[in-house]
Amino acid sequence: MSADESSLSWKRAVETQKYWSGDGLVVCYDELTGDTHVVNEFAANLLDILSDEGVSTDNLCASIPNLSVPEEQKSDFLEYVNNILLDLCEYGLVEQG
């Protein structure tokens, strides 16, 4: 993952209602469009952490509670998070900015 990608800034695009189904998946209802999506619990946690103010992928990861990533895996983890955010961006749930 490049330095540019890790410094991408993300923010919440819409308010969502969530159904934590208890089976590792979360149903998200987009209050703006009425669309419904299924995401994994980790992605749903990211949505809960994001706010209307932009935050970098680095800082977003740092604010995930109870998360400890070994230094040697940090780059892979940031890439993983960034890919999730790109998916959420395609759903219209988050945006860059």
Binding site: Y19, S21, L25, V27, Y29
Partner: protein, 305 residues
């Protein structure tokens, strides 16, 4: 004129050709007008045990099914369906009139009644608990429902699960089961006491016949029933009967796909679906043999508990 005590054939025929037959089905009152003998015959076979209407003044849905104009009938006997004096569909042949009526009655529910979360599903109940079985056309839900009903389950609906918006309960809407093509003979041989209405040939769904559905003692009880299971049935030729767990998230999405008004209801639809799915054990059900399918349903906790 003596008081009417049941929806017998004479009463139905007379009502259809005058002010209309007021038919109470669950929370809905239809007012049906028709001059077609095949419609009177079908209604008499399939609805004779329905409760007498409590009103002749109000109906939710005024529908009529009659022959088209005389000039059109020179070419061939065609019938029209009208809803509140409008014609939402093209006509059909006279031989398809009865199926046309039942489909029209379904359509009334599909496009109205947003006071419920409506899911395209069969609904059956046992011991005061309901199973909602969503499925696309051809999934085999009607055939399975017919078999379960003939084995003592109470059919609440063959087509629409009317879910209360504020609690995971389903409102009964018991109407005849629509069977198509070989399913008709399968059910006839499954139980030779099954009562069918007129067969309609060469429809866009093939050969169609409707099965009398109000054969349970509680068939006309209007009270809502708690839903405890969501089962997604699928007929697979030669497959072994199998009930397997399905995640609630996936079940939510599948049920939403089969809903007539999930999107229309907006956030209310989301919360209603969430309430429904949360209250249910969710499963996928694959079957090919009706006897073993019914046997498996008889082992569900709702039956044995």
């Amino acid at each position: 004129m003596p008081p009417v005590t049941s929806l017998d054939a004479a009463y139905i025929k007379s009502s259809l050709s005058h002010a209309g037959l007021f038919l109470s089905v669950g929370p809905v009152v239809y007012q049906i007008k028709s001059n077609l003998p095949i419609v009177a015959e079908g209604l008499a076979k399939l609805y004779s045990d329905y409760p007498l209407p409590t009103t002749q003044e109000f109906s939710d849905h005024l529908i009529a099914i009659n022959r088209q104009g005389i000039l059109r009938n020179i070419v061939g006997s065609r019938v029209n369906f009208s809803y509140d004096h409008t014609h939402p569909f093209d006509g059909m042949t006279l031989g398809q009139a009865y199926a046309f009526l039942e489909w029209g009655m379904n359509w009334c529910i599909s496009v109205h009644h947003n006071e419920y979360l409506k899911i395209h599903a069969a609904v059956l109940a046992k011991n005061g608990k309901a199973i909602v079985m969503p499925g696309e056309p051809g999934a085999g839900k009607s055939t399975l429902s017919a078999a379960l009903m003939l084995k003592g389950w109470r059919l609440l609906s063959d087509e629409h699960a009317l879910i209360k918006l504020d609690e995971p309960k389903v409102v009964p809407l018991c109407r005849p089961v629509s069977l198509k093509n070989e399913s008709i003979e399968i059910i006839q041989s499954f139980d030779n006491s099954a009562v069918f209405g007129p067969a309609s040939l060469d429809t866009h769904k093939g050969r169609v016949a409707h099965l009398k559905a109000d054969i349970h003692p509680d068939s006309h009880d209007a009270n809502a029933i708690k839903v405890t299971r969501l089962i997604f049935p699928r007929f697979v030729p030669n497959a072994k009967t199998n009930l397997s767990p399905k995640t609630r998230a996936e079940s939510f999405m599948r049920a939403a796909e089969q809903s007539f008004n999930y999107s229309t209801l907006g956030q209310q639809g989301f919360f209603s679906m969430k309430g429904l799915v949360s209250a249910c054990e969710c499963s996928e059900f694959i079957y090919s043999d009706l006897d073993s399918a019914v046997a498996l349903f008889e082992q569900l906790d709702m039956v044995t508990a």
